[in-house]
């Protein structure tokens, strides 16, 4: 099979291949927790995998930039400081991830290999094989079709699966994806016209089920041309709880902060943790001056980054993949998530 080829594999055989892989490589897959929450976790048996899910509440960025990670630790050898790096990441397979998350990863790749290459991020990224599962049933919060974030992708995956009932339609997106199929003896047959047609029908149905709620274009124009009334930002700022949830669950948000944990004996560790542009401490300067002291300015900043042309031109796409997590996570329910704000901006002039 060549890269970009489309194959058909019985589901059971694909999962057997995954089980063989699991003996040598860590496999992270969707698991249903007690209570019904979905989480992606390392598994020890393919039977742990659930297919009864649309998405995890947390974006997969946590596997590439954890919410809190050690950058290095240090100690003194005599008078000489000695730094120690964290262990190198091991190879792993991310199975069952959704298109929007993968699109979010593509966005993060751009950030972490921009002006500065982030070693920790890239080591993890290179050691991870992504097997995505295209969506056939959206949630009522999904709006990926508005942001080109899904329900299936043209590229950016190692392997993309579409559930056709008894079989998976497997699209090979990279040499690493092809190697996975070969190494773990996943028997592939070329997809036939009827398979492709079935997949097309499934995708079309999924598209139809999705109510497009975020017509970005007008909102982008409004923000880019600074046409949004200050009063609207005032209103939105007053509503915001500044919990930072929207940025923590956003597959496109990359901001972090760095802090030290020194210990009395001269040892210490430097950590990196997620930060949020919705927090006042994020932009406070050493002098104490804060250019974005008010919630209003921080909400404005967030949507400027998501929707203004300057960033769209830089990144090649808006800073949103339509996963809809900001809708669920927002304390100011239905007011400050992307579709809600896009709607408010569109109607404001």
């Amino acid at each position: 099979m060549q890269v970009s080829a489309k194959a058909i594999v019985p589901k059971t055989l694909f999962l057997e291949g995954l089980a063989r892989c699991m003996k040598k490589t860590e496999v992270i897959a969707p698991v249903k927790m007690k209570g019904g929450d979905i989480t992606f976790e390392p598994i020890s048996n393919v039977r742990q995998i659930t297919f009864d899910y649309v998405n995890d509440h947390d974006p997969l960025k946590r596997f590439f930039i954890p919410a809190r990670e050690e950058l290095f630790s240090y100690h003194f050898s005599g008078n000489k400081p000695v730094a120690k790096s964290p262990p190198q990441p091991k190879p792993r397979v991310l199975f069952g991830i959704r298109s929007c998350d993968l699109q979010g990863l593509a966005h993060m790749d751009g950030f972490f290999q921009g002006a500065f290459e982030d070693q920790l991020y890239w080591q993890r990224r290179q050691q991870t094989l992504t097997i995505s599962l295209a969506c056939t049933e959206p949630l009522d919060t999904c709006f990926c079709i508005c942001c080109n974030g899904g329900p299936w992708l043209e590229h950016g995956f190692d392997l993309q699966l579409t559930d056709l009932g008894e079989t998976f339609l497997v699209e090979i997106g990279s040499a690493a994806g092809r190697r996975f199929l070969e190494e773990w003896h996943v028997p592939c047959q070329s997809a036939k016209r009827k398979d492709l047609q079935l997949r097309q029908e499934l995708m079309q149905k999924c598209d139809e089920k999705m109510i497009p709620t975020a017509y970005l274009a007008k909102a982008c124009i409004q923000i880019t041309n600074n046409r949004v009334r200050e009063e609207l930002w005032d209103e939105m700022g007053a509503e915001c709880f500044s919990c930072g949830g929207c940025t923590h669950v956003c597959p496109c948000c990359t901001c972090f902060d760095v802090y030290d944990c020194p210990q009395e004996d001269g040892q210490g560790t430097r950590y990196r943790c997620w930060d949020s542009c919705q927090y006042a401490g994020f932009t406070r300067e050493a002098s104490g001056h804060n250019p974005r002291a008010k919630a209003k300015e921080r909400v404005k900043r967030r949507f400027y980054h998501k929707l203004s042309y300057a960033y769209i031109q830089q990144d090649g796409h808006p800073g949103c993949v339509g996963c809809g997590r900001c809708i669920t996570v927002c304390q100011a329910f239905n007011q400050l998530d992307v579709p809600a704000v896009v709607k408010r901006l569109r109607r404001d002039g």
Binding site: H57, C273, G281
Partner: protein
């Protein structure tokens, strides 16, 4: 791996997942399946986990040796605590020992501490910091319902047709409650806000009434007056058809306007909204309780709920905004000196019989409250055992409380960090955080939820329950150690827990006591009250403000809770992200007052009261009325509590921590 647990910050009890890798908690994220939080967390929930691995965590017991705290083994520490407490008891009687429990540990631990104090040490002086926040609520609700708890659930806010908030900032203090109020306001539900300070969400509400600090009782009574005088009361309630000779007659809206400064027409509008809108929820916080009229205020709000028919139906009731994760659990476990487990008064003989079956014996009378123990430190109280509270900083008049703690013969403190209180101790016992132990928290609506162990204990820390059990063992008593066993024993002593099956606690959101489903359709109050009705007891004679403004101290200073500072900052100040959010202590002044004093926003000033002073940055604002100053409760660079009064309210023993007279000086 992710572990489901319950957020340890405010009283909402949001569901949370802790992500664990190599025995380290990496992150906290919201639990989508949780019926209350529904996949949301506030800033504290998202970032509070950073305290777990903070380098300042205590990792081994410390004992005082020649003025210095030095590391010791558990055996040494427990033996020392036992020997010193036993000696104090032998020399001065059990009455000389005080025990102060936590509103943050699990209910099981609160229960064990209560049992240790009352049945093993034999002292009646056991109390908790519920006293400083909601002692008046406990007093009124226990007397009215037999249960010191909210008469409505948080989800009742969704079903309410009108909402009244008094003396609270739900957005900052209990964000999930704030979120439900916000959603209701956006749906067009009338929201009435009574507070001396306008908050961020106030402009979204229908009506904002700004009484002068400390005059709430007159305002609440005026609402009752208007409702009765105009015949708007709920016809099914009490048969009150006219204003009786019970003192309410004089509280006309015009009279209240004179006292509180709230326009009479606003009072009438609020009364009409409360009486005519349908089911209504009344939410109040420490703005109402931490006053010299605290109990009267809560009784007046109870009267209002009763008069408007807001008891015993869905979408209606009275909710005290309990400010800690397990304040309700501490109340349930009887960690207040007047209470036995299960909301029953200790002075009642049948209660003592019930509890004594498991405990062996317990004191017959109530003992001293927290503040009374501090006042008696070195006199009646010789030894003090403080669990999970930074008492030196939590108490009003910090200098006096620190001095009191230094007067003790023996002080034991059990905590995660070397707090200002622990630094004064003779023995410091390192306790596990919420991520290192099992048990339950009960949120402000009585929702009992599991707390699950996510990692092995940090250093040599032990859970509070295990430390208490080891101490009990040193005194020759055997306590259960398994959280399930403790819960089952608690159920025998706490009647309102009896219908709960332990396995039910595993479901997302746990169980709301008294029983799952018991409150369906009629509100929680009906399930609690049964066929009884609470009483309408107008309270009209409010005690005067202990320290009114005068020529020397012309401003009425009041405090409030911001988002980023909680209590004494033991936890919040050790989260890197939270700690940098709000580093500057500010004092708010009305813009006109600032002009008159020729002061401007951003200038350094000194807030001076009769107890001390605090350096702050001035903020001139229209959010507060002229003649008032507002100081957020802040744990950095000085404490607002250090300026406040320790005067006690006579009925519930709550200190008047909210208000005092102050002046401003340029720094």
């Amino acid at each position: 791996m992710k572990i489901q647990t319950t957020c340890p910050f405010c009283g909402c009890g949001c569901g949370m997942l802790l992500e664990v890798e190599a025995n380290q908690v990496i992150s906290a994220s919201p639990q989508r399946s949780h019926p209350l939080s529904r996949g949301t967390l506030c800033i504290k929930g998202w970032n509070g986990h950073q305290i777990i691995h903070h380098p300042q965590r205590l990792t081994q017991p410390l004992i005082r040796n020649r003025q210095k705290l030095v590391p010791a083994s558990w055996r040494q520490a427990i033996t020392l605590v036992h020997d010193r407490l036993a000696k104090l008891r032998d020399d001065h009687g059990a009455d000389c020992i005080g025990v102060i429990g936590s509103v943050k540990t699990t209910t099981e631990e609160a229960y064990l501490l209560n049992r240790l104090a009352r049945s093993v040490l034999g002292t009646p002086h056991v109390d908790s910091l519920v006293r400083y926040d909601h002692a008046p609520s406990v007093r009124v609700l226990q007397a009215q319902m037999g249960y010191a708890t909210a008469c409505a659930g948080i989800l009742d806010i969704e079903k309410a047709s009108v909402i009244l908030i008094a003396g609270a900032n739900p957005k900052a203090q209990a964000a999930r409650v704030g979120s439900y109020i916000f959603q209701a306001a956006k749906r067009g539900i009338p929201v009435i806000h009574i507070d001396p300070r306008q908050q961020e969400h106030t402009p979204l509400y229908t009506l904002f009434m700004q009484p002068r600090p400390g005059t709430d009782l007159a305002l609440f009574n005026a609402l009752l007056h208007v409702i009765i005088a105009r015949g708007w009361q709920d016809p099914g309630v009490l048969g009150i058809s006219h204003l009786r000779d019970d003192g309410l007659q004089r509280f006309t809206p015009e009279y209240a306007e004179q006292v509180c400064g709230v326009p009479a027409h606003q009072i009438v509008q609020a009364a009409e909204l409360m009486a005519k809108s349908g089911p209504g929820v009344i939410i109040y916080g420490t703005g109402v309780t931490q006053q010299v009229n605290g109990t009267a205020n809560v009784q007046a709000l109870w009267n209002l709920a009763l008069l408007t028919g807001n008891m015993g139906r869905e979408g209606a009731g009275l909710i005290p905004l309990l400010s800690a994760n397990n304040m309700q659990g501490a109340i349930d476990a009887g960690l207040m000196t007047e209470l036995a487990p299960g909301h029953r008064l200790i002075k009642e003989t049948p209660t003592r019989h019930d509890v004594a079956e498991y405990w062996g014996s317990l004191p017959e009378k109530k003992g001293l409250t927290v503040q009374e123990m501090l006042n008696q430190a070195g006199k009646r109280i010789k030894g003090l055992y403080v669990v999970g509270e930074n008492l030196a900083w939590a108490a009003p008049d910090t200098q006096a409380s620190t001095k009191a703690l230094k007067n003790l013969d023996f002080l034991v403190v059990q905590d995660l960090f070397l707090t200002e209180t622990a630094a004064l101790a003779d023995v410091v016992l390192p306790a596990c955080s919420y991520a290192e132990k099992e048990g339950t928290f009960t949120n402000l609506e009585g929702r009992i939820q599991r707390v699950r162990q996510a990692i092995r204990p940090v250093g040599a820390c032990l859970s509070d329950g295990e430390i208490i059990a080891r101490l009990a063992k040193a005194f020759g008593a055997t306590f259960p150690s398994d959280p399930k066993q403790i819960f089952l024993e608690m159920q025998s002593c706490i009647p309102c827990y009896q219908q709960i099956k332990y396995a039910q606690l595993d479901q997302p959101g746990g169980v709301v006591w008294p029983a799952p489903g018991a409150q369906k359709g009629n509100g929680r109050c009906r399930a609690l009250l049964g066929e009884r009705r609470g009483g309408f007891y107008p309270v009209t004679a409010g005690a005067p403000f202990t320290e009114p403004p005068d020529d020397e101290y012309p401003f009425a200073l009041f405090t409030g809770r911001p988002v980023f500072h909680r209590r004494t900052g033991t936890m919040v100040s050790r989260s890197f992200t939270l700690d940098k959010e709000d580093p500057i202590v500010t004092v708010e002044i009305n813009t006109d007052d600032a002009k008159a004093l020729k002061l401007r926003s951003g200038w350094p000033v000194k807030v001076v009261t009769r107890r001390g002073h605090l350096r702050c940055t001035l903020v001139a604002t229209r959010a507060i009325a002229p003649g008032t100053l507002f100081l957020p409760i802040h744990h950095k660079e000085g404490l607002s509590q250090s300026l406040m009064l320790a005067a006690l309210e006579s009925e519930s023993g709550i200190p008047e921590m909210k208000l005092c007279a102050a002046k401003l000086e340029t720094a």
